[in-house]
Subunit: 262 residues, 2 copies
C-alpha cells in the first residue's frame, strides 16, 4: 500500500533550539549566501569566496564551484564536490564558489518518516509545516531513499553560456534503495532571483561516495529535521562579470525552475 | 547660467577607506536592512527591531517607524523622526521600526558641487560614478539646497491600508535656499521589493529641525560623499502580518516608484 500522505511527526528537538539561543549563537544563525541565483542564471560562474570562508558562516548547505565545476553539498561542516561522474570528494578550503548558501544548522523541528513518500507529497507536507512562509527554511532528510534522480553540472570553459544552455548537457544519475542525505533550503516565492523559490535540494549518499543536485525522489524511511531563520546575509562578488550582468533578466521564476529541474 | 551637467570631482577620501579596512571593520561594513519594502507596500507597518538595535548596525540611513509614524533619517549615529508636520526630533532607542536601512558610512569617494544641479542630472552623474551597478551604494549630500520638496507619511490606524493608499494623503513640504543633508541609498534594479530601485533619499535641515522623504530637489553647492558595499544583511520580522503578506504582489517596480514618488 502506498501511503504518500502519512508522515509521523516526532517531538521537536527543543534542546537544539536552546543551544542555538545561548552564547550569542542566535546572531550568527543566519542564512548566508554567496552571490545571487540570477547571476548564475546569466553565466557568472566565477566568484571570490573560498570554501574556507564559506564554512565560517555555516556547517550545512549547498552550491557550486567556480567554472560550475560540480555541485556542492555542505554537511556537518564539510564541503563536498559532486562531480560530473556523480562522485563525491571533499573540496579544498581554497576552492572558490560563485554561488552557495549555508547556515549553522540547528533544527527546531523534526519528524520521523516511516512510509514511502513522493517528492510532491513530501514537499507539500513540509510547506504546511513551514508556517512562516516568508522566512527561509533549512531541511535535512537522513535515511533510506527508495529512488533518487540527480544531475551534476559539468565544468565550463569561457566564454560561459547561461545556465539554461549548460543544463541541456548535464550529467544525470538514478539510484534505487540507497541510504543518504537530502538537504537544502526552502526559499520564499518573493526571493526569486536570490535563490530558487520553493525547494532547492542536494543529495549525498551515506558513504559519502556519490551525490548531486536533486531532480526527483521517493523517500522510504528516515528522519527529517527542519530549521528556519529570519536573518539573511548576501555576500555579492565584486567582479566585473557580476557588475555587468543583467540580473533582472536572470530572475524570472520560469527560467529558474527550468534550470533547477523543478 | 544653469550648469546642470558640470560636477567638480574632488579627491577620493582614501583615509576613510583605510580606517574602514582596519580592525575587522570591513566585515561589519554591510548594508543592514529591517524587513522588505514589499512588506511595507502591503501594509506591514509594525516591526520588531528597536532603534537601539538598528543603530548597532549603522550610523547612517533611513526608514520609517511602527504604524508608519513618520519618516526616519539616521545621521552620525542619531535616528531622527520626521513627523507629519515636517518637524525633526530625536527618536527614542525603544521605538520600533517596520522598515529601515543603515550602514556604517565610510565614504570611499567624494565630489564637490559648485553649480546648481537638478535631481535628474545629479542622479545621472551618480549613476555614472556608481560603476558597479549591481552593488549597493550609500550617498550623502551636505550643503546648500536651492529647492527641495519632501513628504512625510502620517501615523496609521489599524487595519492598515497598503502604502499606495496611504501616500494619497501624505503631508508634502517645500523649502527654498536651505542648508541641509540629503542621504540615502542607490539600490540595484534587481533589488526591487527589497528596497527602492534607484535612489531612495531622505532629507534633514542642518539645524536638525525639519526633514522628510525626498520627492524632488535642486542642489546649489556642497559636498557629496559615496560609499558602497557588497555585503547585505536582511533582518525579517517574525510576525504573523509579515508571514501572511503577499510579498510578490508588493514587489512591482511601478507600484514602488509610485509610492516613493520617483
Amino acid at each position: 500500500m502506498h501511503q504518500d500522505h502519512e508522515l509521523t511527526f516526532a517531538t521537536a528537538v527543543a534542546s537544539h533550539r536552546q543551544a542555538a539561543l545561548s552564547n550569542a549563537e542566535e546572531t550568527a544563525h543566519e542564512y548566508y549566501q554567496a552571490s545571487l541565483l540570477s547571476a548564475i542564471m546569466q553565466g557568472v560562474y566565477d566568484g571570490t569566496l573560498s570554501i574556507g570562508e564559506l564554512l565560517e558562516h555555516g556547517d550545512f548547505g549547498l552550491g557550486t564551484f567556480n567554472a560550475l565545476d560540480g555541485e556542492m553539498i555542505v554537511l556537518d561542516g564539510v564541503a563536498y564536490r559532486l562531480d560530473g561522474e556523480g562522485k563525491a570528494n571533499v573540496a579544498s578550503d581554497t576552492d572558490l564558489t560563485p554561488y552557495a548558501a549555508v547556515i549553522k544548522f540547528r533544527p527546531t523541528d523534526a519528524l520521523d518518516l516511516t512510509n514511502d513518500v513522493s517528492k510532491q507529497a513530501f514537499e507539500a507536507q513540509l510547506d504546511a509545516r513551514a508556517a512562516e512562509r516568508n522566512l527561509f527554511y533549512a531541511v535535512c532528510f537522513t535515511g533510506r531513499i527508495k529512488h533518487i534522480k540527480f544531475r551534476n553540472v559539468l565544468r565550463q570553459d569561457r566564454p560561459y553560456k547561461p545556465l539554461l544552455e549548460v543544463v541541456k548537457s548535464q550529467a544525470e544519475f538514478e539510484l534505487h534503495d540507497v541510504d543518504g542525505i537530502i538537504l537544502g533550503f526552502r526559499c520564499p516565492d518573493y526571493a526569486v532571483g536570490i535563490g530558487v523559490p520553493g525547494y532547492h535540494l542536494h543529495f549525498i549518499s551515506s558513504d559519502r561516495k556519490t551525490g548531486g543536485h536533486v531532480l526527483d525522489y521517493t523517500l522510504a524511511s528516515g528522519r527529517i529535521e527542519i530549521d528556519h531563520t529570519s536573518s539573511l546575509h548576501l555576500e555579492l562578488p565584486e567582479t566585473p562579470a557580476f557588475s555587468e550582468a543583467n540580473l533582472t533578466a536572470g530572475a524570472s521564476e520560469d527560467s529558474i525552475q527550468k534550470a533547477e529541474g523543478n
